[in-house]
Subunit: 350 residues, 4 copies
């Protein structure tokens, strides 16, 4: 019996990725596509400007989009789980309304830093799901909200988790982020042709605060952020998909470069142990070539769910520096949500 | 009376920029264009695949290219000064041969780190020219070699010079460098479309070692490198001209952000005081918008000779972080050479 | 005494080009910047997202934008002439309102095909200005409307005009058009990276109908469209500025290729004879290299006012084929408007 | 029993595509990888700069490359069939040497227009394989050469074949071709960023002559070229894969647009009837959206083996105009060769 799933914000780029990834999923089936009032009542085919290279699944195109409200979703079909791909600006109250009745797995930023809402990367902090009962009690909800981090944060946090045994003290990160991270229509072509934009609104703040929450400790009642300092500088480059990040980390224990690489290579988490359907065999792939990872060549590693690390080398100021790359709309968005939901199924939360 | 100038490597991309910049120069006139044997004897127009957006000057197109050898240059015309835009791989012995007879201002990397050869940025370390007499004596040359730093180093070093009063202890820099930095044909389009290449051969090493030499102290006899630690991570992006660098600097004195900006804004050097023809009015321009500098919009500031700085902000690990941008083939290459030569004229060295 | 000028749609990309081109113009000075209600009352600096590589002129940045209505423009300053850079969707009635009082030179498409409104390219059909008195009488206006053609049409029509002596029977054209032709924000970067879009709304229709009107005959009372058949296929490519067009023309007389080239080379029009300030010395430049014109290298020829033609060769089906390139926001937009206005001044219409 | 296959030019971009496509092929297995002397003796992994987004198959990486000579190939392993992905400049004599002993299916241009060598598109002219016995007799070879057309020609010819029933009289085509068509390193990034190059050496000539041969008639002894006139204008755009072509065709019978579309939609050839492993279900896919086909969205249709047609509309000069798109290194290169070889197996020629 597959869980019945509603997607909020189904017509946007992240919504489209959810549809693509959930196609033929062994545990989930899409029963409701919800979007803004403008789209409601239309066939998905007509409401959506499909922006993926694979064709829109035919049966999805024929579904009628409903308005993003509990009443309308409830009338449309049975739903066991809600994926939210809503824009951050509207997600806040809408997700709360849905959480009163349904489990909500959200890609939106609205609730990520709420004290009683987990911010989950299944390989990194699955134990933070333990805060859900606290949340339900606090809020008096039948359902709950669980959030996925910002795209650029997820890939960074996965690599940091692998290094936690060495004592991560502080880190500097400079990103080169892909266009699809800005959604659609997103970045005007006239802004990015022959150019780099050294600013992404709120991105540096998210990387700094979310990473500390994700790597923090759950004490049964609350999440204590990790005690590490993070400094980010975020840039947009003319690349379709795949965020590339130059990372410089100070580690308390001073591992050798080979030990660091081995920590990356051998890293696995709950999704691998539980053999979840969307879990990549290797959460982190280490490339040895001196010019990798590269967005176009590495973003689809592990079906877009692996983080690719390269150029691991000593740093004369911090301890180690390296590059990491992840597919920002798969591992960094829809794939993250699906993997989180799979983890919840495996843990009996869904 | 204008100085007569020979350009070595005149058909390459940096050679072309020298020609463009020297056009109508008040102090210099081109009398010899030298290139490899393959080009020698041809009209420049036929020998050169001109890659600049402005047209090749007609009188230059009609000049006959000579082989890059002292004898042939000497036979071709009177020469007071040689600009070398040779590829690093061949520059070493050729420049030495020319230095035996002529002053050589070189953009090539071959001799940059030689102990008795200055590595000059006119705004930063004009006093390093004082080592030229030492060099001439050491080597028994009539002429000498003075070098210009690597493109990505120049713009960084100019910003650091402005901060030296605060005590620069160490810095991390992550670059996003333009295609023209790799010369022509340079980066294959199939490598860079929809991509970033996180590796530029030897670039990180150059940024780390050259910066310390440039900011070092000349004691009348030798140059002591500055005592600071530098860590670079260099990336190639799909931008034609203009290197963008994310910089994180630790300063001993802890200036406010406004003091740092003021240090950038008020920075001037010898070229400004001497009013050299190619000196930009402002070596550093500070932009206050949150999304600048950007390569396409800022690379031509000060006719490509200003460094544009933006997003100056506190750093939780180092002291301050900012972005800087420079035109890599003007301020970072041919313009650097011409400004160095102007400084030498003003100082009576030429 | 310079004519006082208002710009409607001053904050858009074409409006910005008008400002750039009119800076320091000997005959015109900007006294009013008008834009939509959203911008009215703000300083231009704050109302406008400036998208040109040259900086916004400081005095323009300090001007206060007024709403695009006759009353508000009239209150703001004296105006002798109105340039309209309004979006096609709103230009229709607004331009009529202004024409009741002022001469309006419009880049908008709304009135281009109106029977009593001229569609002017100064080098091609200056005699069509003769219809203005007819128009004023028809409409009872103190002012009038004169329009400039679509960007892709202008450069094509200039090359066709040079061939009219050979008898232009029919032509096929396939375009590769730049991003700036779509305005700002215009084409989303996610649509164009690693892609071509083979469709531009209404563009093919405009090229086919406008060209026939421009090349038509004014009989003192009305304009008879030229008797020629045109078939266009329009494509958007990832280029910032500069439309490139592959043209195949059937000519009644069968000139040699050299005669065709000579017709292009020797072509001049009224702007050249009258020595208008914005007139390029050569309306058409013929390149002999086998790989020109290219957008990045040729778009700024003649300060963006020349059309560059290349690869003129025999065609086995039509008579001749060639490529032509023009700067779409200079020769194809703001520069076209300014040159039209200059022509009107020289002819005593303004 | 799978046929044993040698690939000549295995390290180039087309050679890499052959390897990718032949992986797991039911009828062929790679036993020899041949390349230039420089690569001979090395492991493929070391000899090749792999440029595909999918990883190099591990077992291929471990194979030792041999020199491109019959003797060395023969010594290396049994071979039933040779795929040639050699550069045009060297393919001529080398392929003849191999044809003396082996069947050679060649992507190179050297022998395409030889009178007794077939130029095959399996859906279009499978009957031209009938000239192979003539060739073997003429040349006294044990093997033979069969060639595949130029990439931009294949997709055009497939669409024309579907229209042959309407009487194709003449056609004009204007291309926008992808970077991968130029091989590797191919087009320098500095040439194509923010640019279009309106020239591809020999491409227009190939499209004009090859198309007539492909659509010609085999009379049992020789191939009579089709009696149609073709005019091509070829352009390079900043797209990785996928050639887009704007086509204008004159048809003797004047079909309706719907009849033309139906001819495209219903078109199938021998590969579909024989159910060959690489045959796409639909050789031609017709898109109804007004802005398709687009390279990034349509190049992988039918696993890169379908040609995508769109914007089929009346033409006021010719009869019909449309756009067609094909994946230039799959349908236009390696996939073409594999499909040709499959056809030969099915026909008993291999």
């Amino acid at each position: 019996m597959r869980r019945k799933v509603a997607i909020l914000g189904a017509t946007g780029t992240v919504g489209q990725r959810f549809i693509q990834i959930l196609r033929g999923h062994p545990w989930f089936e899409i029963t409701v596509l919800a979007a803004s009032e403008r789209s409601a009542g239309k066939k998905y085919r007509e409401a959506c400007r499909w922006r993926l290279e694979t064709d829109m699944p035919n049966e999805i195109g024929e579904m009628t989009v409903v308005n993003t409200r509990v009443k309308e979703v409830k009338e449309a079909a049975d739903v066991d789980l809600v994926f939210s791909a809503l824009p951050g600006s509207v997600a806040g109250p809408v997700e709360e309304e849905f959480a009163a009745e349904y489990p909500v797995v959200s890609k939106a930023s609205a609730h990520r830093m709420d004290a009683d809402i987990p911010l989950i990367i299944p390989e990194v902090n699955p134990e933070h799901l333990g805060i859900i009962p606290v949340q339900k009690k606090n809020r008096g909800w039948n359902g709950f909200i669980s959030t996925d981090p910002n795209c650029s944060t997820i890939q960074l946090a996965i690599t940091l988790k692998a290094l936690m045994g060495f004592g991560v003290k502080q880190l500097i990160v400079s990103t080169m982020q892909a266009l699809s991270g800005a959604g659609y229509p997103g970045v005007p072509s006239l802004d990015i042709i022959d150019n780099v934009i050294p600013y992404i609104p709120n991105e540096e703040e998210k990387m700094e605060s979310e990473t500390r929450k994700i790597l923090g400790t759950f004490n049964g009642n609350s999440i204590q952020p990790a005690n590490m300092t993070i400094s980010a500088s975020c840039n947009r480059v003319d690349v379709k998909d795949g965020h590339l990040e130059a990372v410089y980390v100070e580690l308390e224990n001073k591992p050798t470069i080979e030990e660091v690489k081995e920590a990356f290579r051998s890293f696995v988490g709950e999704p691998q142990r539980l053999n979840l359907p969307s879990a990549p065999e290797k959460p982190i792939i280490v490339r040895e070539e001196n010019d990798r990872p590269q967005p176009r060549f590495d973003r689809n590693a592990g079906k877009g769910m692996s983080v690719v690390v390269g150029r691991v080398r000593s740093d004369p100021i911090m301890t180690v520096k390296y590059l990491c790359l992840g597919h920002n709309t798969i591992r960094g968005a829809a794939g993250a949500g699906v993997l989180s939901a799979e983890l919840m199924v495996a843990k009996g939360i869904l």
